[in-house]
Amino acid sequence: MSGTMNLKLRVWRQPSAGQPGAFRDYEAKDVSPDESFLEMFDRLNERLIEQGEEPIAFEHDCREGICGACSMVIDGIPHGPERATTTCQLFMRHFRDGQTVVVEPWRAAAFPVLKDLVCDRGSFDRILQAGGFVSVATGNAPDANSVPIGKEAADAAMDAAQCIGCGACVAACKNASAMLFVAAKVSHLALLPQGQPERARRALGMVKAMDREGFGACTNYGECEAACPKSISVSYIARLNREYLRAQVTPTV
């Protein structure tokens, strides 16, 4: 493996939700190319603790790119420069010695910053509570193979269902729109027979909740797809628009 690097980090520090924040500069020394971006932060934080300073708060958990917790805007790009990659799966071999890297939290009115790089994404949960489910109580399900689902439909549903709910789509959008997130959720269930009975109600309810939470409108720039760590296609946004329109003209009975 090649030698280690030194980087300059310009990191957003903010003591709490109500207080103003500012960038602060740090040095990341002897960074190995095999280290992950968050491991570099771990080591920096340990050094800060040793110096009696408060470590930089950031969200992270699985570090396998699936839980959706990590959320750093790196040099202006949510999750950094690599396509289809979460922050936790970004490795330092993609950076150069001496580089300055700017790290910020997700920025959107619907994702208020709680501290440093941690923001509150509870608005996503509230959107899902407005219809992102099939109303099936435990115990009354028919046999799993009683309804065949064509592989193509199952695959398309799975492509949408892969969304990890990280919010990079919102952070990437100049309007802070949550359309890709909502589109993925609505499409996943709209593509499956199990989702049909509540199809119209779901689309209407979730779009209404999205607006209520203060997310912006979609202007089809496609930044969301580019930032999505699961490469969820903007074509699902077209599907959501169709679902929404259909729901408005579909009689409920």
């Binding site: 003591p15 709490s16 190995s32 280290e35 491991e39 771990d42 934080n45 340990e46 800060l48 603790i49 040793e50 009696g52 300073e53 408060e54 470590p55 708060a57 969200e59 992270h60 958990d61 699985c62 570090r63 396998e64 790119g65 699936i66 839980c67 959706g68 917790a69 289809a84 990659t85 799966q89 490795f91 709680l114 509150d120 509870g122 949960d125 509570q129 407005a130 489910f133 099939v134 099936v136 109580a137 435990t138 115990g139 399900a141 046999d143 799993a144 309804v147 065949p148 689902i149 064509g150 592989k151 199952a154 549903a157 269902a161 892969q162 990890i164 709910g165 269930l189 499956l192 199990q194």
Partner: protein, 637 residues
């Protein structure tokens, strides 16, 4: 400590049905009068919270995450078992039960395992009805694959993200109940104590991780679904936040801790690359359906894999276990990898790795078929290692992954503390000394959807529980203790971050309480862990305060608990003078290096009782009897 498993009488296959029919019920009008606390929102906690709420109970669900959907169940890759027999290959409830008891090396409770196997099929039905997009065949029916320790294909999967999709299904059900007002969700709350009043669990103390406020919550019953403790090893496949604090605090309030030494070391993980590393990444066991495991026959062979001819490779799993081959169970595959590396035939940096090779499968099935089955795993491997596994074999090495041990529970999943239920990985009951692949998701959902909602009703119907508000003395005392502990951590004023102690603990445990253990090593480790604990409380540095978001304080509290748990794990491993499943004592092995059980002396669960600070825990036993699956030496040859 009284340990009564309360296994219902009658033939094995009828116990659960009979028990369910005979148990007391709470009428629909009375259910809404009962408040139940569920701690944890993964597959076990989320499914339990939603199901209990559907029944009409008032449910309060807690998670330390910002949303239930981030629980570590999300990271499970390979699949979920169910005795559906869709592939017509001879599977049945009995066979899944048999495989699981045998896979657990005869250290689980038969009746619990049988029930798990009975309800497995209904889990798949439930998940499909929720819209979980399982992988399917072109005809539209569900696809299956094989996992370790089984000779049938009973594993259902969603590409390589089964845990994520099951959790999203479960979370959707939870959201439905949150929206309906049946579940009050408390996010970013960490459990810091369980409150026992008049000998019964009646509430919890949590810290609001954002404001730092310490809160009391009272209820009629408390359910812990807080996962396992593999992070005691520091480096494991668990998420960074996974911790033992909830079960450890419950243990200190009287809950028995069963078989803490039963830990699962998963054979297929990406090897460690350096000291900076914060966790290890699993490569799903499903890869062993098509990948072949090998090392060079020659010690110290440094040639690139492509230059090592077929005749100079040792496909050691196929050689040693011809009937199961690359799908030998996890404990056996992990030990075989360690053996090969100890023998100087390991590959990659430091010689701690073996190859998992897809060349033959790519030749047989074509690259598109492999992309379809495992594409996301190959991508993840490349992101982490920078290597393309379609061209060079993957390098893998075992890593801590799952803990079979946990809080002791009876047949109804209640601990020895009345009113304290424990479900999912947090309990000890179903996997014995080794868990088979694709069985963790099954157990989490079985407990939450189909077992606990019944058994908790029987408990509530049969108990006389007075009203508790949360202002009683035990709540006040517990809150004071929690606040004092935070103040103590903040006040040590040492120099080292908690992570440094955690790393040190992990190294000790991995070396001497990991894949192989022995008498001298364990005794030495107990001493060293005690020393580490002392140094922790003299030299840990926790900056910031108790008010507000303070990740350093959270971490320090968890590490302190891990250090205490580590000592108990070593003591448990030391007293269990046999090898079984994932617990391998070097002194007890067959001439060909397989685990050698001692059924005369150790056919029981070891359950530890907390005796107070500074006192050693007392050891109790729950004898295990095997009525249906005769005790025998496990063989996968």
């Amino acid at each position: 400590m009284k340990l009564d498993a309360r296994v219902p009488a009658g033939p094995m296959a009828e116990k659960w049905t009979r028990h369910r029919t005979e148990m007391k019920l709470v009428s629909p009008a009375n259910k809404r009068k009962f408040k139940v606390i569920v701690v944890g929102s993964g597959l076990a906690g989320g499914s339990a919270a939603a199901s209990l709420s559907e029944l009409g109970y008032q449910v309060h669900c807690f998670t330390f995450h910002d949303t239930p959907r981030r629980a570590h169940s999300v990271a499970a890759q390979g699949g979920i078992n169910a005795a559906k027999n869709y592939p017509n290959d001879g599977d049945s409830v009995h066979r899944l039960f048999y495989d699981t008891v045998k896979g657990g090396d005869f250290r689980s409770r038969e009746a619990n395992v049988h029930r798990l196997s009975e309800v497995s099929a209904a889990i798949i039905d439930q998940c499909v009805a929720q819209g979980v997009p399982f992988s399917r065949e072109y005809g539209g029916l569900l696809a299956n694959r094989s996992f370790g320790g089984a000779q049938v294909s009973r594993t259902f999967y969603c590409r390589g993200q089964t845990g994520q999709q099951l959790l999203l299904g479960c979370y959707a059900g939870l959201n439905k109940q949150i929206a309906a007002g049946g579940v009050k969700m408390h996010t970013r709350r960490e459990l810091l104590d369980v409150v026992i009043q008049d000998g019964v669990a009646r509430g919890i103390i949590v810290r609001d991780l954002v404001t730092g406020a310490v809160e009391r919550h009272a209820a009629h019953a408390v359910v812990l679904a807080t996962g396992g403790y593999s992070n005691v090893f520091y480096l494991s496949t668990n998420a960074m936040g996974c911790n033992a604090t909830a079960i450890w605090r419950a243990h200190k309030r009287g809950a028995g801790f069963a078989n803490p030494c039963y830990t699962q070391i998963h054979p297929t993980c990406i090897p460690q690359s350096g000291d900076h590393q914060s966790k290890l990444t699993l490569m799903s066991e499903s890869l062993r359906n098509d990948g072949r495991v090998w090392v060079p026959k020659q010690k110290g062979d440094k040639r690139p894999p492509a230059q090592i001819p077929e005749g100079e490779r040792d496909y050691y799993l196929e050689r040693k276990y011809p009937s199961f081959g690359n799908l030998a169970p996890r404990d056996i595959s992990s030990r075989a990898a360690k053996e090969a590396c100890d023998d100087g035939r390991g590959v990659g940096p430091g010689g701690r790795g073996v190859y998992l090779d897809f060349a033959a499968a790519i030749q047989r099935l074509g690259r598109p078929a492999i992309v379809e089955r495992y594409g996301n795993l190959f991508d993840m491997y490349e992101r982490i290692t920078g290597e393309n596994a379609y061209q060079v074999p993957m390098r893998i090495y075992p890593a801590p992954h799952y803990t079979m041990g946990g809080l002791w529970v009876d047949y109804d999943l209640m601990s020895n503390v009345p009113g304290l239920f424990v479900i999912g990985e947090a309990n000890f009951s179903d996997h014995g000394a080794n868990r088979l692949g694709a069985s963790a998701l099954m157990q989490g959902l079985a407990d939450g959807y189909f077992v606990l909602p019944y058994t908790i009703g029987a408990y509530l119907a049969g108990s006389k529980l007075g009203e508790v508000k949360g202002d009683e003395q035990p709540f006040t005392d517990a809150q004071k203790e929690v606040e004092a502990r935070a103040a103590k951590l903040l006040g040590v004023g040492g120099k080292r971050p908690a992570a440094a102690f955690h790393r040190e603990l992990g190294r000790l445990m991995w070396e001497r309480c990991g894949m192989a253990r022995n008498d001298a090593g364990l005794k030495q480790t107990i001493e060293e862990v005690r020393g580490l604990r002392e140094r922790f409380w003299q030299d840990v540095k926790v900056p910031g305060g108790a008010n507000g978001l303070n990740p350093a304080l959270e971490e320090a509290g968890r590490v302190a608990d891990f250090i205490e748990l580590a000592e108990l794990m070593c003591r448990d491993a030391l007293q269990r003078e046999e090898s079984c499943g994932g617990h391998f004592r070097e002194e007890y092995q067959t001439p060909d290096g397989e685990a050698k059980r001692d059924d005369e002396r150790f056919c029981h669960a070891s359950v530890w009782e907390w005796k107070g600070e500074g006192e050693p825990q007392a050891l109790h036993q729950e004898p295990l009897s095997f009525e249906v699956v005769a005790l025998s030496t496990r063989s996968y040859k």
